[in-house]
């Protein structure tokens, strides 16, 4: 066992996954990339002395699919479909950020219809709940709480249904468009949404009853993986993990987008900075997201356009192309050539379920983006695991990974 007296050298030699070697009292063990609790394909190479982790180093990139490169080689309108695949638990969050950035470059931010903005907020918050449901369900399984998974996925299933009704697909609806939305909400959507709003508080009560004061869960989470406020900022941790350390930075409040300034909600914050604080912050965020959804729901009573009226940017409705020559030409041009975006660069950030999601978009005036740089919140949140893992128990590593909520589609892109 480590006595804790020997200080690690200033620049430790990199751990190698291939080397599984004993040196002195420590042993190098590779955890993952197929370990079920690594939430995807994360490999953590840990140097352990007994049950204590001396040092942890992560290997990522197992899911690298070159999405940023693909996006550069697609039209502005097509690239949206691949960016949705980064954070596959909140696809519409990614789409929203990308679309907002492209709209800033086009200079049409002010012209987006109010109804379209409200529906964007609606889906951004729905996916936040759905994403937290996956975190809650899988995080519960990590700790042995199997039944939570079914309660959480029940809510998520309803939300995926709503995505399917609106956008046509459960996981990647591709519902947002540069300039608005693909179409208005179909008949029957609001009734389904009302049913979810009505059932949600009871479901949350059940989830809280199952978990929040569960002694096993509290024992496993309280005091585990503590990130101080200063460390969180220096290690670039954002989102619920930052707010659990006491810093109430929320992009929705600091740099409002898509009309978030209109809605009332609290920014959930704790000060402990441990896994339990992150758990409580996410639970409260689910309640607050539903509060925003209820406010948006009232706005949806008013009908209105959901797409800007600009034939150079959005394809005319399918019905009109059989009747009007211009509509046919515009439709053909947009489908075959995409849209041209004026040169410039922009950084657009939104509050994704995992933190500040940013897109740094560069256009050279062509119909393809010159560069689509993503600031993936998961990547930086996960990097902080190196900080909190050293000195902890191996069993706690699982809790820490779960509490940082990484999504590997986004980490590896």
């Amino acid at each position: 066992m480590s006595t804790g007296t020997e200080a690690p050298s200033a620049t430790p030699a990199p751990l190698s996954a291939e080397v599984v070697a004993r040196s002195g009292n420590t042993m190098i063990v590779s955890m993952g990339p197929q370990h079920p609790s690594t939430h995807g394909v994360l490999q953590v190479v840990i140097e352990v002395s007994g049950e204590i982790i001396e040092r942890a180093e992560m290997e990522i990139g197992y899911l690298h699919t070159g999405i940023e490169k693909s996006a550069e080689n697609l039209f502005w309108t097509q690239a949206q479909t691949v960016v949705e695949r980064m954070d596959y638990l909140s696809p519409l969050g990614n789409a929203l950020c990308y679309v907002l950035g492209a709209e800033k470059l086009l200079g049409i931010t002010e012209r987006i219809p109010e109804r379209a903005q409200a529906i964007r907020v609606l889906f951004a918050e729905l996916t936040r709940i759905a994403s937290h449901c996956v975190w809650l369900g899988t995080g519960g399984i990590d700790l042995g709480a199997i039944s939570t998974f079914f309660y959480a996925f029940d809510i998520r299933e309803d939300i995926l249904d709503l995505q399917e009704v609106a956008g046509g697909a459960r996981m990647h609806p591709n519902y947002f468009r540069i300039g608005g939305l693909n179409g208005d909400l179909p008949a029957g959507f609001l009734a389904k949404l009302d049913a979810l709003i009505a059932k949600f508080p009871q479901r949350m009560r059940e989830l809280r009853a199952l978990l929040q004061n569960n002694p096993i869960l509290r024992d496993r989470m309280i005091g585990v993986g503590v990130v101080s406020a200063e460390d969180a900022v220096r290690w670039n941790v954002t989102g619920p993990s930052l707010r659990a350390s006491g810093i109430a930075y929320d992009v929705r409040r600091a740099f409002p987008y898509s009309g978030y300034e209109k809605y009332e909600f609290n920014v959930a914050t704790r000060t402990e900075g441990d896994a339990y604080a992150r758990f409580l912050v996410r639970l409260e965020e689910m309640d607050e997201a539903m509060r925003i959804i209820a406010q948006v729901r009232k706005e949806l009573e008013r009908p209105g356009p959901v797409l800007i009226d600009d034939p150079k940017l959005v394809a005319p409705p399918k019905e009109t192309i059989a009747l009007s020559m211009e509509a046919l030409i515009h439709h053909f041009k947009i489908v075959s050539e995409g849209i041209r975006v004026p040169p410039g660069d922009v950084y657009q950030a939104i509050e994704s379920p995992r933190g500040e999601l940013g897109y740094y978009l560069v256009s050279n005036g062509d119909n393809r983006p010159w560069r689509v740089r993503t600031r993936p919140p998961s990547l930086y949140n996960l990097q902080a695991l190196e900080l909190i893992a050293s000195g902890s128990l191996i069993a706690d590593l699982v809790v820490m990974i779960g509490s940082l909520d990484p999504v590997f589609g986004e980490v590896d892109r």
Partner: protein, 205 residues
């Protein structure tokens, strides 16, 4: 060889970042590579405590060829409410890096979060960060050749076919006996053939 898909920016703006007034909330600063560290240290001292992201852009025909973009955010280092944070200052620092001998100074000692970001730029753009404690590829396998986010990285077509494949993708490196081409597959084939033969016999009888 330039990728057949990459549109040329010659004739368009060579530096899209300079052609328009800023579109977002960030202050934009452009520095020379030599001044980068001093500028970032100064900004850090002024309260830009978080290094949100480091991104790279390849302008191919421009000189300097690359831009490396540092996004900074001014957050307090202790617990703070929404009102105390307000609208934090955002700064975007752009630094041009020449295509030949692309090197920058690492800032891992200022912000530990720069570690993976710099490794990713090294991996995908081939820009070297001097002073980085562990500069190796992060997304791609260690034996990968080339830097895919460079605009001249062949994406498809003859140039892509001529590019050397990494060893793990070569058939000659697959050990003999590995399914589905080896002994197991042959054994399965025999088993299937036997089963079919019996079926035929059974049907005839």
């Amino acid at each position: 060889m330039p990728s057949s898909q990459a549109p040329s920016i010659a004739g368009n703006a060579l530096d899209p970042t300079a052609v328009r007034p800023p579109l977002d909330d960030a202050e934009i600063v452009r520095v020379e590579p030599g001044e980068l560290r001093a500028k970032l240290t100064a900004l850090r001292a002024e309260g830009c405590s978080m290094l949100l992201d480091i991104g790279g852009v390849d302008y191919l025909e421009r000189e300097p060829r690359f831009d490396v973009v540092y996004h900074l955010l001014a957050l307090p280092l202790k617990a703070a409410s929404v009102a105390e944070i307000g609208r934090p200052r955002r700064v975007r620092v752009l630094v041009g890096v020449p295509g030949k001998d692309a090197t920058l100074t690492s800032v891992v000692d200022l912000w530990p979060s720069a570690n993976w970001a710099e490794r990713e730029i090294y991996d995908l753009f081939g820009i070297v960060f001097s002073g980085h404690p562990n500069l190796k590829r992060i997304q791609l396998p260690d034996d990968w050749e080339g830097h895919p986010l460079r605009k001249d990285y062949p994406l498809r077509g003859p140039a892509r076919e001529a590019t050397p494949r990494p060893p793990f993708a070569l058939k000659s490196n697959v050990p003999a006996g590995t399914p589905p081409s080896g002994k197991v597959a042959a054994a399965l084939q025999r088993q299937i053939a036997r089963a079919r033969g019996q079926e035929k016999d059974g049907g005839a009888a």
